[in-house]
Symmetry: C2
Subunit: 138 residues, 2 copies
C-alpha cells in the first residue's frame, strides 16, 4: 500500500490524482463515453502516449479503473471506471464548474455550450451526479 | 492571458490548479484558517519552500489569492482568497470526500475525525459550501 505524506484526505486524493492529466482521462471515461487508449489519445489536449500509458497504469494500480477486452475484439483494451472511479464524478464536475463560473477571467474562448453541463450541476449537484452515475449501471 | 491546451473547462482548471501542492495551500487557506508563508510551510505534508513560493506566486498571478499586510506588522505577508479562490471550496471538499469515502482502500490510517467534515458535506453540499464561504464575508 502507498505511503502518504500526511493523514489528510485532501492530500491523499492529490497524491493519487493531483496532476494535469489524470482527471482528463477520468473526464473522458466518465463524461465523454471514451473507452480506449486511441480515444483518450485523440482528445483535444494532445496527451503524449507515454504519459497516457503511465496514468492508465496508475489508475488501474489503484483500482480506479479496470482494463478489459471486448468479447469480439481481443486486441483492444477497454477501460471502465470502478466504484472508486465513479466516486470521482463530482470532483470532475466541480473542476468544470470552477473554470466555467470564472471563464471570463481565465479563458473567454470557452464556448457557453462547454459549460452548460457544469451550470446544470450547480443547480442540483446530487441530481446530476446520479444522472451521470446511472449511465454506468447495468 | 494564459493559452490553454483546449476549450474544455475541466482542462482549464487542471492547467491552473492541477498538481499535488496548489490545492493543499487552498485547503490551508479555506479550511484551516492559515494565512502566512510560515503557516503553509508548517503543514504536515512538508512542502518545500521553493515550491510554496512558486505556487503562491501562481495563485496570486491568476487572482485566486491576494497578498497583503497586517496594519500592525508590515513584515509578514498575509494571503487571502479572492472570489475565484472561494469558488474552490467545493473542489477541495470533493477531494476530501473522494478519499474519505474510500479510505479503507487508499489509506486506512486516516482517522475518522479527519473525514467527518467531508461526510457532512456529502449530506448537504450546498449548506456546507455556504457555511465555509460565510467565514470569509466581512
Amino acid at each position: 500500500m502507498k505511503t502518504f505524506r500526511s493523514n489528510c484526505p485532501i492530500n491523499c486524493s492529490l497524491e493519487l490524482i493531483g496532476d494535469k492529466w489524470t482527471l482528463l482521462i477520468m473526464r473522458d471515461i466518465l463524461l465523454h463515453n471514451k473507452r480506449t487508449f486511441k480515444e483518450f489519445a485523440s482528445s483535444d489536449e494532445g496527451i503524449a502516449t507515454n504519459i497516457l500509458s503511465n496514468r492508465l497504469a496508475r489508475l488501474e494500480e489503484h483500482s480506479i479503473i479496470t482494463k478489459g477486452k471486448l468479447p469480439d475484439n481481443k486486441k483492444v483494451n477497454i477501460y471502465a471506471p470502478t466504484s472508486l472511479g465513479l466516486d470521482l464524478i463530482p470532483v470532475v464536475l466541480e473542476l468544470a464548474l470552477w473554470c466555467g463560473l470564472n471563464k471570463t477571467h481565465f479563458n473567454p474562448d470557452i464556448p457557453d455550450e462547454n459549460i452548460a453541463g457544469a451550470k446544470s450541476y450547480q443547480q442540483d449537484r446530487a441530481a446530476i451526479i446520479e444522472q451521470v452515475r446511472r449511465q454506468f449501471s447495468d
